[in-house]
Assembly symmetry: C2
DNA sequence: AAACCATGTTAGAAAATCTAACATATGATT
DNA sequence: AATCATATGTTAGATTTTCTAACATGGTTT
């Protein structure tokens, strides 16, 4: 349960890299943080460090902005998204409760093979699964 | 053939991030560059920017150093590695030449399904496929 | 011991990022 | 039309991060 791994939530990128990757300006990125659409980590020296998840989120934000949605709207959409997510999860829990051990094993095996863990979004795209080779 | 993608060769990480990820000091990283074991990109402002490939390589270097191999030895090993790689590739080429179109299609299909593109190393591990979730 | 190798440490300069403030274009509200 | 709010641009000054270059040092090799 230890060892060096890169997780989607690991803060790895400085704002300059994120600017390139998202084609957003530093001003925009900071503004979205100000409105709590993202919460990048900070170094000891107070520089923002972004994770892959942060970048995903920024791409989603960009998309929604392009669709004319404002800060408040985007915040709401994100809220709804987690709710949906939670709903799905408790639903899954419930189903699992009803399964026999044998059935459970099959289900888990299947779950591991497919679905890349949670990241299936309720909204549009914006995740980076399409990126890595 | 365009669009924003993250490639293993894209320079994304500043040296600070690489230090964390590899547990090498800045001094070490720069020293290895000096000896041409890596060639990180530079920003307009001359700051080093590392790709996933660079990080892989640094992890390999670290490993080889731990095994007591020196700069010259590592450089040689890397040289041999590309030669091996090239050999495999021309071999593959040759084989493909001899195939019918039908056979070729099958082979390509297979190649796409398995083997994550080139990164199977001749040496030990050191690639980051194990990292991402 | 002398030389060499890999790394540590330091100093001074330059680049990247930070916050805060003010500026401005666009669209909505009165 | 005048005003307001929103999202973003721009600037200034401070701080952090990274850079190169030089010198220091503990092990190895000769």
């Amino acid at each position: 349960m230890s060892g060096k791994e890169i997780r989607r939530s690991m803060p790895l990128f400085p704002i300059g890299t994120v600017m390139q990757l998202t084609e957003l300006t530093a001003r925009q990125i900071r503004y979205y943080e100000e409105h709590q659409l993202i919460s990048p980590a900070r170094t000891d020296g107070n520089r923002r460090m972004f994770s892959l998840n942060d970048i995903d989120r920024l791409l989603e934000i960009k998309d929604l902005i392009d669709q004319g949605i404002n800060m408040a709207g985007i915040k709401q959409l994100f809220l709804i998204k987690v709710q949906q997510q939670n709903k799905v999860e408790t639903q899954t829990e419930k189903v699992k409760q009803e399964l026999t051990d044998e059935q459970l094993r099959k289900l888990l095996r299947n779950e591991l093979m497919h679905s890349g863990r949670n990241n299936r979004s309720t909204l549009r795209q914006g995740d980076m699964s399409r990126f890595f080779h």
